[in-house]
Symmetry: C2
Subunit: 154 residues, 2 copies
DNA sequence: ATCAAAATTTGGACAATGTCCATAATTTTG
DNA sequence: CAAAATTATGGACATTGTCCAAATTTTGAT
């Protein structure tokens, strides 16, 4: 697996470093991970890695199309491995849980805008908002968790 | 017009204050406005208003369904007046420009998730990503403006 | 109108997320 | 292996947003 990551980096003209390999592994192991969480996990592998390297690497992976970034409201950016299939996301308004949803169309942009305003559109990002099963049951209590609340628990 | 805003507030059991009326007017006048920009504009009307009041008010308006919040990557949250028609947005990857796009369906959620993972879905938010007409032409230069760059210009 | 209670606003501190920059370290190239 | 290029590091800093307690304003009932 690590070998595949190395190949991916080289194919994009990037130097191969332990930091990058580890982060590729990390977002592959933990879809929808934050930069902070990725830093924690990468540090267990590497001993240490700077916060800046994590941001640099994740941003670069997104730029190169090796990772995807989603940014739900009230949440730091989440990174995922799964790329190129234009899948979508289900986000819980209460607890922030994120699930993947396959795109019925499967290629980008999967939707036609009713009027493109002369934009050149390359992607239609769909976010379904609602309540996850867990938050449906404890509906009446602990609603509206703040970002802090959510973060504290993690 | 101000009168309508007053009515809207009262209907939702909210006190009527100059700050709230001004902010309702502001997001009506300037769709896709940031909290900071709204603060600037509101201050011209009111003389002064605290940053906290702006955030409180905008958050409250969103919560009550009197405003909508969108949050494109690399941009602070944007607020808009237009509510309840489940329209969508076109976002320029280069300069961050945002345009409204009507939803062909018109009511929420306008899309069916391919698998709802047992979520109760109430909205499908669609963001079309691409390049606006202006950024298509000056394609080769000034790509990838950072948030800073964008902010500086505004 | 007036007053007490409730709701709102204020300002200052603080938190979270992310970027800038110059230097050090590592990786690649020849 | 050494030079050149790329990457990583850490510390400062910017931006966006929230917490909190005190002051002010609005509301509802006389």
């Amino acid at each position: 697996m690590i070998d595949t990551f190395e190949t991916q980096l080289r194919e994009h003209g990037l130097s191969v470093t332990a930091q990058r390999l580890t982060l590729l592994q990390t977002i592959s192991d933990y879809p929808h991970i934050t930069a902070d969480q990725a830093t924690e996990i990468a540090r267990k592998q590497l001993g240490s890695i700077s916060r800046q390297s994590v941001y640099d690497t994740l941003n670069m992976l997104v730029e190169k199309g090796l990772a995807r970034r989603i940014q739900p409201f009230n949440s730091p950016a989440l990174f995922e491995d799964r790329v190129g299939d234009n899948h979508h996301h289900l986000v819980c308004r209460n607890c922030g849980a994120v699930e993947d949803v396959d795109c019925a169309v499967g290629y980008r942009p999967c939707l036609q805008a009713s009027d493109d305003n002369n934009f050149v559109i390359d992607e239609a990002e769909v976010t379904y908002w609602g309540l996850c099963p867990k938050c449906q049951s404890k509906n009446s209590k602990s609603r509206k968790s703040t970002p802090q609340t959510r973060k504290a628990k993690s």
